[in-house]
Amino acid sequence: MSSPLGLLAYLPFLEPVPGLGRVWMLLLPPLAFGISMIYKAMRVPNLDRYWRSVGVMTVQVVLGMAGLALMLGLLVQVVVPLLPAE
């Protein structure tokens, strides 16, 4: 469905975006950005610093998720194979 002809047949909002499934990890930053937008709209006392704090929180969330993924990857790929089988 990600061929040029498939893109022509794409129906926005009715079917998934063609070709996006291969780069699904790129969908994390917009999710973190949206959550940060809502959270900071509630928490920031002065809205003049709003977008800056949204940006900081987005980066924190994405880096936190990447760090967790790295730790889990190391655990599964490096630590677990070192454990004795019996």
Binding site: L11, P12, F13, L14, E15, P16, V17, L20, G21, W24, L27, P30, L31, G34, I35, M37, I38, Y39, K40, A41, M42, L47, Y50
Partner: protein, 155 residues
């Protein structure tokens, strides 16, 4: 002098603003005199919800097949029911796309209802569902914040 103003430590619940904030995300802040905050919160909630539907298709909101997810998505307000209605009327009815038989490996297996050819699967469906659910859950937090927030107006 009202009872609330005579006791400055007492906080009243903004029930009307909270209900309004569920119906139209962010509007509760505007009702309490902070429209800019409401616009930002509302844009975040509705933006996440619409982005979720754009990513995974309208199939990501399904009141019958994904009931538990729908509980979270319903926090975004009536827009969740509109999306579920669109899913039923357009995709599940076969009005858009076509309805396909679900293959049965075992002839003794139950016959499942036909599914739309536009039904989302894999990561995009998961992410779309997650976006809409996060929009709903965050709007619940917004509603609770509006419920206990002091009014900005100095009347």
């Amino acid at each position: 002098m009202s009872e609330a103003s005579s006791n400055p430590t007492r906080r009243t619940l903004n029930i009307g603003a909270a209900v309004l904030s569920w119906v139209v995300p962010g509007s509760g802040y505007a009702m309490l005199g902070d429209p800019r905050r409401g616009l930002l919160a509302g844009a975040g909630v509705l933006g996440l919800f619409l982005l979720g539907i754009l990513i995974g298709g309208v199939d990501v909101v399904d009141r019958t097949e994904d009931r538990l997810w729908f509980f979270a998505q319903a926090g975004a307000g009536p827009v969740a029911w509109v999306a579920d209605y669109a899913n039923s009327e357009l995709l599940k009815s076969g009005r858009v796309g076509e309805l396909l038989e679900v293959p049965r490996g075992d002839p003794r297996a139950p016959v499942y209802p036909k599914v739309s050819s536009l039904k989302g699967v894999s990561h995009l469906n998961e992410f779309g569902t997650l976006y809409c659910a996060m929009a709903g859950l965050m709007n619940v937090v917004v509603v609770l914040d509006v419920l206990g927030r002091r009014e900005e107006r100095t009347a």
